[in-house]
């Protein structure tokens, strides 16, 4: 289903939602530009690691904004709402990694005190090859990830402000380009702090309103736990022939849930744009606290989302199932004629109340009805895992909440600004990683090692601009594989960076030979499994019906889905790195001293 249609527009005059959206987007963008300008930098330290002057709590907020993407903001609650209990793979998977990061990686990488992740890999394993491999991985992971963000910006613009998607992408590119090029990491950091504020307020207000309406508790977490909402939802689900919402393993096997959760956790801890945020704080101690603040800020959204998922699903089923069709008109959605159902809820006293949000959102194409059995009512019973007479896009869960809860138009506008903040903040962090990997790890290191400070910063800026242009082009002309990249980004980070960095710190016997062979084996295994399972979707090629080659068949490895295979890529990397290191000569003495120094917060005299 296309998500590019515009928000419901009122019949005539200047629509208040669009007016408020224009105001909020205008104000927040001006603030981001101002912050970027205020924090402009002239030297490498400022450009790549914000001069290492970021306070722990500010870095926490910046990391949270960096981490929470357009998908976290707009799609995650809806995804969970449609998955029920098994939605925990995303909730635990995308938060649990911060524990690994805080305990196992962040303090030591801060002590290392250089600029990039590939730089650490290169120095610890005394190998240019390792640095190049790591830089290419970092670029690939970040580039695939950032394309989705730019596309998210375009979608929000087109949906809320009714301008073409490509124009939205261009506006987003210009804004990010400005504060990233002028301010580097410093500009990005302080913009992300502001963006965190916008996105969390935008997420919480509708969630609080709908919680108060459905459960009588203003705090969604308490509404979810203390009220009988989940039991009522379970009862409706059972009536309609779906599994109970709180029943585990309804959509995925236990083994798959374990594998995906672990792959997402380890992948999170291994993503370069997250790790590099911990290079920007003042000290090792600040890196530890900063990880705690980051997860606290993330947890505010990640513990509200599952409550919102329950509330929204309950409201959807409760109000739409057996709703009366009062009239049907024919409208045009994206050039195609489709039916617009006017629905109403019988109030038990002979009258009925129209369900206005359902009417409005049909215009976006995100929800549609079809009275299959012609009984003048809408049924949502389970037919092969789908609703009998409705098609509902999961994004509607977050986007329609303000209207479902009958909130003012400015709240809807705030949600638009929040979605943009989430997408722009993540895009900026990713672009910096791409730029630093190209400029610092590849260009400066191999082509022009004697570059002056001014030259280094200039190369970094040029690389950001190039990265933004490439990204924007992909966002407007997305190749088929973009939708599949989440599995790739996390799987590759889990199978490459995490084991190599962890062993680099905790096992001083790990050597160059071990690390390189571990990375290659982990990457090859993970990439080939994901490609083997998804090549037809990625490259839009039809899979031959009589395809028999087992490697390329649907999940062949204990039926683990491609999203979870990073777990095994990671374990394979550990085993190979550990074994090969013990069979080859130990690392030189200065590497052992390097590792000993990493482990102690105080700088060596």
């Amino acid at each position: 289903m296309s998500a590019l249609a515009s928000l419901p527009v009122q019949a005539s005059g200047m629509d208040p939602t669009m007016m408020w959206t224009s105001i909020f987007v205008g104000v927040t963008f001006t603030v981001y530009l101002y912050i970027g300008w205020r924090n402009r930098v002239t030297e490498t330290r400022g450009f790549y690691v914000a001069g290492r002057g970021v306070p722990a709590i500010a870095n926490g907020a910046a990391t949270a904004a960096d981490w929470m993407s357009a998908a976290s903001f707009i799609s995650m609650a809806g995804l969970i709402s449609f998955m029920g209990s098994d939605g925990s793979i995303y909730l635990m998977g995308w938060t649990g990694g911060y524990v690994l990061l805080a305990l196992l990686l962040a303090p030591y990488l801060r002590k290392f005190g250089k600029y990039t992740v590939p730089e650490f890999v290169g120095e610890r394993y005394y190998s240019e090859t390792a640095r190049v491999v790591a830089a290419i991985c970092a670029i690939f992971v970040s580039l695939t990830y950032v394309v989705g963000q730019m596309k998210g910006v375009g979608i929000v613009f087109s949906r809320f402000l009714e301008i073409d998607m490509w124009q939205g992408v261009v506006v987003g590119m210009v804004i990010v380009a400005f504060f990233a090029v002028v301010g580097g990491m410093k500009g990005i950091t302080w913009t992300q702090v502001a963006q965190y504020g916008v996105l969390i307020v935008a997420f919480l207000i509708p969630a609080i309103a709908i919680s108060a309406e459905l459960t009588g508790h203003a705090i969604p977490h308490i509404g979810l736990t203390a009220s009988d909402i989940a039991q009522k939802l379970n009862a409706i689900q059972t009536d309609l022939g779906f599994a109970k919402y709180t029943e585990p393993f309804a959509s995925k096997s236990r083994a798959d849930v374990l594998a995906i959760t672990f792959a997402l956790m380890v992948g999170t801890a291994g993503l370069p744009h997250v790790i590099v945020r911990f290079y920007t704080v003042k000290s090792v101690r600040a890196a530890r606290y900063s990880a705690g603040w980051a997860l606290l800020f993330i947890a505010i959204l990640y513990t509200t989302a599952p409550a919102l998922a329950v509330f929204a699903r309950y409201n959807l089923l409760d109000s739409l199932h057996e709703a009366e069709i009062t009239s049907v008109e024919t409208i045009e959605i994206e050039g195609e004629a489709s039916e617009l159902y006017h629905l109403a809820r019988p109030d038990g006293a002979g009258g009925s109340t129209p369900i206005e949000w359902a009417t409005n959102w049909q215009r976006t194409g995100l929800i549609s009805f079809h009275d299959v059995n012609g009984d003048g009512r809408i049924q949502l019973d389970n037919v092969d895992g789908h609703f009998a007479e409705a098609t509902i896009d999961r994004d509607i869960i977050v986007l329609s909440t303000p209207e479902v809860a009958r909130l003012a138009p400015w709240v809807i506008a705030l949600v638009a600004a929040g979605g943009l903040a989430a997408a722009l903040s993540t895009a900026a962090g990713l672009l910096l990683v791409i730029s630093s990997s190209f400029a610092h790890d590849l260009y400066i290191h191999f082509v022009d090692p004697d570059a002056t400070e001014a030259q280094r910063v200039r190369v970094g800026r040029i690389m950001i601009v190039l990265a933004i242009i490439v990204t924007g082009w992909f966002a407007i002309h997305p190749p088929g594989f973009v939708a599949q990249v989440v599995a790739f980004a996390f799987g590759l980070a889990a199978a490459s960076f995490f084991p190599v960095i962890l062993l680099g710190i905790f096992d001083s016997r790990t050597n160059r030979e071990g690390a390189i062979s571990g990375m290659i084996v982990g990457l090859a295994f993970t990439a080939s499994y994901i490609l083997g399972n998804k090549w037809d979707i990625m490259f839009a090629i039809e899979r031959p019906a009589d395809w028999v080659a087992p490697w390329f068949a649907r999940p062949w490895f204990f039926k683990i889905s491609p999203e979870g295979i990073g777990t095994f890529g990671c374990l394979l990397n550990f085993i190979v790195t550990f074994t090969v290191s013990r069979l080859t000569p130990p690392p030189p003495a200065e590497i052992r001293r390097f590792v000993e120094d990493l482990r102690v917060p105080r700088a060596a005299e």
Binding site: S88, M92, R254, L258, R285, R602
Partner: protein, 97 residues
Amino acid sequence: MASPREPEPPSETRRSSDAAAYWRANTRLIAVLLLIWATVSYGCGILFIEWLNRFSIGQLPLGFWFAQQGSIYVFVVLIFVYAFAMDRLDRRYGVEE
């Protein structure tokens, strides 16, 4: 919480063995915290979720609560506990910045 019982602050001559003791205390703390991390997420949230769902917290099945709420709260607490505990450990071994 793990309370490391290591010898008192370092003298110049014993620096390397103190560094080793500091590292042992650190890794022991990490192991304890990661055990809790794995127990709440993989244990309560996945492996024993059906069994825990026989109990409830408020009106929500307990296993479901761990999977979608409780484990995340515990994650946040674990990171701050580690940061506090490492502050003490850094001071005890005189390695703070």
